[in-house]
Symmetry: C2
Subunit: 403 residues, 2 copies
């Protein structure tokens, strides 16, 4: 039996406020970033299983017969979703020949694909057994930039395979361009996506896949390991800028910890202030959904961005490239902060509803002249969705259909 | 009987840490700034009393007979030093024709001069009665820049007149270039200087005249209206930069108050952090006098400067001219913060003992190219001093002797 073709997408993630502070028990606000990852699943009839990830130059096909041999390693505890099936992961690493050390992005993407494919189709969870298919993925997100590209990929894999196995319904109605799943189905997608994240990241927080899945508000409050979806928040226009300055999250987290240990009386109040920024921002965004949006709302959002950017510099995760981002956008009356780990990486710039396209285009040109990548996008948009192909931008469909 | 000639100087003042926070009950550190005001008192024999203040284009002479008429208004309570003699101030304002409104710097300097002259020479406090004399003053300090130029002037006036009246001794020993008074004499100088400050500023904190007078450490801790001289601290090389951007301290203080009221949960922790910066700085400076000075000491001092400059931006008293100051000096590896009210005004840049003159000269050139005034000087130096004329720079003596 052939699988039904399926086209899904999931958003990236940005930290609006609270990066680093969250490591020290403070609130962080994670929001969906409307740069999306698109996944197309297409049935084949030649007994092959193929994956195409043009963003990371990864194109692989297997014979179904090869993959079927791997199902003998599948755990009996079919409903066990709390942790990875370590035996299966080990066998899959052997199968693709990466038994030692860290995985590169290509190997980890393949591993996540095979893990979810085999777990869902090869273990009696599916209405059809081990189908021949092609999965093609294209992402608008830069990879490895702290924007949740791997989570968006895992969420898409989980949603498409769960749909194909009949574990969740096809939500697309004929009169709609896009379809969304109900809360229960989203929870299933999220838990399988979390498995993918574990394979790719080892010990992920679960924030990225949660943002990629849910759209209750498009924003999550993250505190002491707990992820709380927030009530509806407004869609905010932003510029997302990638300074392309490489950084290590691990090194930056350690640097902040050192600073706190060295100057606790100075740094702990700064973390308290960051916490209050996240809480104030959440309050303002909630107000914006309940009452008419005014310039004052945006004034406060801008002020919070400026203050937090100073605080992030104080705790030691600033970078000259981010200073430049702030200066370039300030010259156009726009307010920016780093998002994520800092020390380079990405920044967000808030746009107002009335910010005109001349300003936006001029700012983007200025930033590109600095050597940065820059996108006009939004935060607070929908999580994972199913699409009619006609509702997806042509250039994306062209890439997906190329393979 | 002629007065004895006398040459004295007093330093300016800079706030090292805690500006604005001090208004909200936090610690501030005020330090002496080795840009000094010099005052030369010379006897005359023509029955005139003259004051020359070339910095503010003020040159005035009176006949002693005119001034003597004013002594009839002197209060009987000759030892009353706690508050201004309001009647005398009123008569002096009438005498110089400024009965209404705010005084300009020339009128307030003249008023302070006449007040201290008459109070000390015309009220039985003096060993000589109402001498004919010329007072000439030259200051290295910019006026109205928050650097305590009026306090340095008042301290010099008080020291020279108290010396001339015999209320304090002449501390200069023949084998020394400069002389300093004992603690008791300094307290008398300080209290008369505070009278001058009251005439000039209305309701001064007393910090500026205290810094100009005392040199126990050259640094004062200022908390909730209390001024506590600190134990000896090291002399630190700095650049002082005047952006020449005019600002109103009153407006800036009000702006900070508004921000705290608007975002208390965010701002109050920032003030706590500033408080901790002042306390940490005091601790490091004390350590630098007790143990060998190392690069680590300077690393922390630089870090505190950077953090506080961010905090001052957060509380709303930054200015693009100060951002430029920080960027220009950072490009040479130097660390700067605003000092005083902010919103323009002055900034200080810490120099290390090993900072070479190429770096210093290059930085000063860069800053002057921005349109700023810039001086290489030091903080933590001596308070009011008496000088042999030969110990004072030739160009200063030339100005003082010109009149």
């Amino acid at each position: 039996m052939e699988v039904r073709d399926c086209l899904v997408s999931a958003p990236g993630k940005a930290i609006l406020h609270g990066e680093h502070a969250v490591v020290h028990g403070k609130v962080a606000l994670a929001v969906s970033l409307n740069l999306r990852t698109y996944l197309q699943l297409k049935a084949r009839s030649d007994g092959k299983v193929c994956i195409n990830l043009p963003n990371i130059d990864t194109f692989v096909c297997w014979e179904l017969s090869e993959l079927k041999q791997l199902t003998s390693f599948l755990s009996d505890k079919k409903e066990e979703m709390q942790r990875l099936d370590a035996e299966l992961v080990k066998r899959l690493r052997e199968f693709i020949g990466v038994t030692n050390g860290n995985l590169d992005s290509s190997a980890s993407a393949i591993l996540a694909f095979l893990y979810i494919y085999l777990s869902l189709f090869g273990s009696g969870r599916s209405i059809i057994d081990m189908p021949s298919l092609t999965v093609s993925v294209w992402s608008e997100l830069p990879t490895g930039a702290g924007l949740g590209s791997s989570a968006a990929y895992s969420v898409c894999l989980a949603a498409a395979f769960l749909c194909a196995t009949g574990n969740i319904p096809t939500p697309l109605k004929e009169w709609e361009q896009t379809g969304r799943w109900c809360q229960e189905d989203l929870e299933l997608i999220n838990s399988w996506a979390f498995q993918g994240e574990k394979i790719i990241h080892g010990n992920p927080s679960g924030v990225d896949n949660a943002v990629g899945t849910w759209d209750i508000g498009g924003m999550l409050r993250f505190l002491a390991g707990k992820i709380i979806p927030l009530s509806r928040v407004p869609l905010l226009r932003i510029l997302l800028t990638n300074t392309k300055v490489p950084r290590s999250t691990k090194v930056l987290v350690a640097r902040v910890k050192d600073k706190i240990n060295k100057l606790p009386s100075i740094m702990i109040p700064v973390l308290d202030s960051v916490d209050a920024i996240s809480c104030t921002c959440e309050k303002v965004l909630t107000e914006m959904t309940c009452e008419p949006i005014t310039g004052d709302h945006y004034n406060i959002l801008e002020e919070l961005i400026d203050i937090n950017q100073h605080h992030l510099n104080v705790i030691g995760v600033g970078h000259p490239s981010l200073d430049t981002l702030c200066q370039v956008t300030a010259a156009r009356g726009l307010h920016s902060k780093l998002t994520g780990a800092g020390g380079g990486g990405c920044g967000i710039t808030l746009l107002r509803p009335e910010t005109d396209s001349t300003t936006v285009q001029g700012t983007m040109k200025d930033l590109r002249d600095c050597g940065y990548d820059c996108w006009e996008t939004s935060i607070g948009g929908p999580g994972v969705q199913q699409h009619f192909p006609s509702s997806v931008k042509e250039e994306i469909m062209e890439v997906l259909n190329r393979y």
